[in-house]
Symmetry: D4
Subunit: 213 residues, 8 copies
């Protein structure tokens, strides 16, 4: 078990040397340092300079510490429609797991075939928060929020083409949802969705003990 | 029964005097002349100048002829989520009925409460074409097209606010749908959706008899 | 005390007669029915048709039931910079209070004078969730999220002119925040922010008792 | 002859290994599996791993089954102005042919030289549905829909530069057409246009036998 | 006959008093002073203050001088599809006539019914310059430029709704035309189109006599 | 001397083989065939397959015929501010020269140093048409049109960064010019500007002889 | 003389009662309180409630104190092309004068007639800062910054139509200026331009005496 | 010491040969010639052709002269949040230093951790002008302008992703700032910000001696 958020390094625009150097410098001071948007190629170059790293390929995350058993109560349900959106969804999932939270993955749950979604509805209902990742038209968060009672964090992705406008189309879809109780983060921002879910889960029980509740 | 499309007058930007004058001039030559986007106030002013008109208030359509029994085989299913989108949905419905087609209305079928949609699924499956009208995030056509096998005509509406951008948000949603088999028309263009559905229904059986089929 | 979300009627595009009629019809079945975006003029017309209503002028909300003592533990902090954003901020506040949640208002906390914000920092830190409402450049949620540890729900408003683009500028600001843990809702959508905060607060403790925590 | 839509794999973002593996896994279960957006280079790499594939270079489609004689009545007319739009137009054509429909190609029919279009008008009139593909200003579907009576499916392409905005210009042109009876699909979405045409053609006669007609 | 461009007053944002005062002050010094975007109501108020004015209602132009016989050789052909675009087309026509040029009007020539356009093709071919006015999808200038050999000035109008975006859609259509030889002016800018046509016609013969030709 | 427009091939998206093949096939039938947007590398590959070609490197044009002495009266003045815009300006210049028109180049005439422009004003005034090419803020056509009396064709370029938006900023500048008599073409469309200028110059004198002038 | 910035009230969205009440409440504590965007009608209603106010009609500003002789050294040159932009330019001018700065007005200096600008060049060169206000294409700041050596503050206005996009076109023009040394403020924000000029002028000499210079 | 602005060469789109050639040609005539947007690779190629150059790697600037002691009074404070924005911030800093101005760098001052900013507030208050560089949401200039009294020049950067829109999001944030006294330059335009700051500092004291102050 480990509590407290990891230190996070934003990978894009940094060379493998810089990433290795930052991780090496920070590792002594923090239980977990993670870097995001690290491709397999970049990770290979980082690893050749620094040992003891963990790599999560689909999530494109590397970390100085492994995933440990959850340190916090509750569970975050992660929902997405398929392979194209998986890197963003896994960025959220691994960030949460490295931060000490339990996640359950509901991959392959889409809008165009509503039955798969209905078949997992009961398990979705047991989650404390839901992160729903969707590209293309981005309709999935609306449908999920209409089915279950937990708060929904919606993550638009840049998967699509033409009138998708690099993810602006699903972003707008999510902001305009007629199902209330949806908070939206930036396009492809799985990390930000994880941080928001973590803050929701983490702050409450602790505060309940000491606050005005 | 009556076949052939009505003559259509586009109401906006025309005075009641002009509309009455156009309808009076065209009525002798066509079995049905209709005008769209006619508010109740405008219709009152038109009617004070010209008798024998029929008015469909929700659809904002007035016509020189009544709705007659369907002249064509097949049925168009019209789907929308509720009262705000009804004027656009009814513009499509009345245009189809004045053109001799049978329609079935599925009002109050939304994305945020998927069960109402599932409960009418079997009847939707008997329609030859579906027109799905949606504002806000505009997700309904994707979900419908994933459930039934007929072609879907999607009509975005300008209902919404903020990031809805006057209907651009649902328009983009519909164009990016991951459910194939959806044709999109302009924002609020219930009339255009009706014309597309009518052309689909009308051309086929007739052509089947005389064409290369 | 009263639990369960109110039934909500969206006011725009409905006549006072329609609003009065809907409220009258629903009142027997629900502990609380509320309507949003109701101007003082409209409310006067509604009240002349239906008695026993409560009106919250700044929030532009009318309701069939009064605000009762909080039914849920926890507190939502509401933050905004001043008078222009108050209608949106109050829409969130009153919706939460009618739903049984405790709120604390931090009006007059802006970005251009950071000291007022710093002076309330300790009280902000005791909130379980924060709703931050901002127009113009919309920078307030970033600064707040950098100061306190709770989850932040950011509400852009359409207050501004020129390059504000009807609220798109603060919406983009909030989506791009470099402070993680921010969920964004549609422009002027105080109601949606309240629903998201309510779902966060409500689902957790109850689930904690019965769930896997 | 073969009926039923092919299984479809979306090529972009998948490696040749992944595409070969998916096709191999699905081939035993479906009469036809096709993959779209497969460049000649990618196809060469797929073929070196998996035998028995068919490749349609202009359409950028590969398939586990050949084109067979049409299984359905009716014909889809495909219209475009020239070489630049051909990949999108052929994506539509080959998708239809692999799905069992007859198509007739009208390449080299543009707006700037209206006579070529007029010279094929009679043959266009014998089609049951028309798919019109156009980039640049995207005016072709309007002109075609004004000339012939069948329903028109309009496909904007990203061919152009400057104010073309990656295909947004022809997309807007098509949505605003003053010729009614046009349904629009996403930019470059030849596949989606084919699916819509196929649903129009396929559903009608079958349903006519068993439905309410 | 009268040569030299009129002095022009831009009407919007000026009171009738201001317009009357400006016209009165300038009239002694110029053969012709004209004001644009003058509604019938505004003109009535201007006329009650200043006599001797000429008013062109469809064009929304008032002038201190009448239209005289053409003072320049050549003819400008004005083309548009119908009543909604007429105010813009007439603004161009009357501006040209007040400037001493001959115009021929081709109203009611649209893209959705190409035959009317073909029927006037020979007369269009005798024009020295063409001004083509179109709203909705704005395809008309492309088709005209493909048919005739003169230079085409394209004027997009704000007629339309939804994805028309206040005239941006036809503006983009015209800028992306695949028919070369089209110059575009601002949305609804009939006056600017007239000035461009006038400069084309006027400068040439005079210069031919004295220049390097 | 040579009259009649060249046949034109649009280079982008075509391989050197295809370009060589098209030029070879068309050369026997036309006095001049030209291809645009041909980089030096592409031209080297084309030339290795086909002899007798002429190449204009800055203009990125290759041609089957050389520039001959002007065949038409009049002169087109070409104006731009400097090296970055030269490829677009030269595309216009060479297209005009290959089409038989005389051009005069005014390179290095910008808005930020108005004196160079004033120093060439007299020679600009002797041109029959002006083509003004500008990127960045695109203000040059407004200033030129205010100084000289000929018609101005404005060509925005994609030179710039950030809020330039790929040339949309200068395009909007030119469309909104307060100097009347400016016709705008697509971003980077030097070819289209040349065609418009050519049509202006060419059609007039010829028509003068036979028309109503 | 009076130093220190006035207290400022933003008028839009406030009733005359509210404005009068705020001014009355603040007047005892500040040497000058001003309100912006106050129409003549609103001012009449404010004045009927509160005496001793000064009103600047073109600037749409009302104030509790008159303009006094300049309290600071230096002069701000204000430049604009004409009547339509005057309200914005005067908002800047009066704000500066109420704040104790000297201004010189250069109204009627446009881009389309460059000579008026050249004729005032020497006086412009004696200004310490220039504020240049322009709508339509917004080219004036570029030309001015190329002529004089002082810093230029550019203010786009919403004057224009069509592709002006409510002032976005001149805003983009100004941001993309090829003349360096231009700082841009929001559309129509004369007040903000004045504040920036005032800060430039005010901070320097005072700091020169006591700072590190 | 050295006064007068350097001659500046804009690097993008020029080959190393061209840059070396331009620098060599201009060096004899100017005390300092600098080139911007020069990557380390390009500089290596330039240096292999021309000796005696100075290179500032983070700023991506090369120069024919070194930085000398400040020639002007006053100091420009440069503020940014971190490594990603440094190239733009350094472009401003080095341009100022090569132009003879003193700068003080405040790197690592962000919005999400307001305390670092507060800790340097006193030193910021001693600056005559501030340049604030920010990407992502771009909120930093608002906060800085609310804290200190000097004029603020805001530079948005293209650092970010998704709804950042290549820097448009921070650009809009800065234009809409509720803290008055902010002038904005183009996205990534560190050079332009430096020129504006230099003009503010330079023009004043000199003019004070000879002007009307
Ligand atoms: N995938 C991601 N998406 C969004 N923000 C991120 C991501 N990864 C890291 N960050 C943020 O970037 C910061 C680190 O940036 P840097 O100092 O440039 O490495 C972290 O503190 C996070 O807030
Ligand atoms: N509600 C509508 N939406 C879109 N187009 C319409 C509508 N009503 C009429 N139209 C079209 O407008 C044309 C008539 O325009 P007008 O001649 O101006 O009355 C008809 O032929 C229809 O194509
Ligand atoms: N060219 C295409 N354009 C649009 N959608 C396509 C295309 N090709 C395949 N698809 C869709 O993509 C789905 C397969 O996606 P995937 O599972 O990622 O391979 C299919 O079911 C189709 O609906
Ligand atoms: N014309 C104006 N343009 C932009 N901002 C203004 C204007 N007038 C006032 N303000 C700002 O609005 C603030 C007052 O807002 P309020 O408290 O709503 O009256 C002032 O401090 C100014 O910063
Ligand atoms: Mg999706
Ligand atoms: Mg909906
Ligand atoms: Mg704010
Ligand atoms: Mg085309
Ligand atoms: Mg049209
Ligand atoms: Mg320029
Ligand atoms: Mg101007
Ligand atoms: Mg920032």
């Amino acid at each position: 078990q480990r509590t407290g958020f990891p230190e996070v390094v934003w990978g894009p625009g940094k060379t493998p040397e810089q990433i290795a150097e930052i991780l090496a410098r920070m590792r002594p001071y923090y239980p977990c340092v993670m870097a995001t948007r690290i491709s397999a190629d970049v990770f290979a170059a980082v690893r050749s300079r620094l040992g003891g790293l963990h790599y999560f390929e689909v999530a494109q995350i590397c970390s100085t510490a492994p995933i440990l058993p959850p340190a916090y109560p509750g569970q975050v349900g992660l929902v997405c429609a398929g392979t194209a959106d998986l890197p963003v969804a896994e960025e959220a999932a691994i960030t949460l797991q490295l931060s000490g939270f339990a996640v359950e993955r509901f991959w392959d749950v889409g809008v165009a075939g509503i039955h798969r979604l209905l078949s997992v509805r009961d398990r979705l209902e047991t989650m404390q928060v839901l992160i729903v990742v969707a590209g293309m038209e981005g309709a999935l968060p609306s449908v999920v929020a209409g089915l279950v009672s937990a708060a929904v964090i919606a993550v638009p992705t840049s998967i699509g083409y033409g009138a998708n406008l690099g993810g602006l189309a699903p972003l707008l879809t999510m902001l305009n949802s007629c199902a209330p109780g949806i908070g939206v983060v930036n396009i492809d921002n799985g990390f930000g969705a994880a941080m928001l879910a973590a803050k929701m889960l983490r702050s409450l029980p602790q505060r309940a003990a000491t606050g005005s509740m």
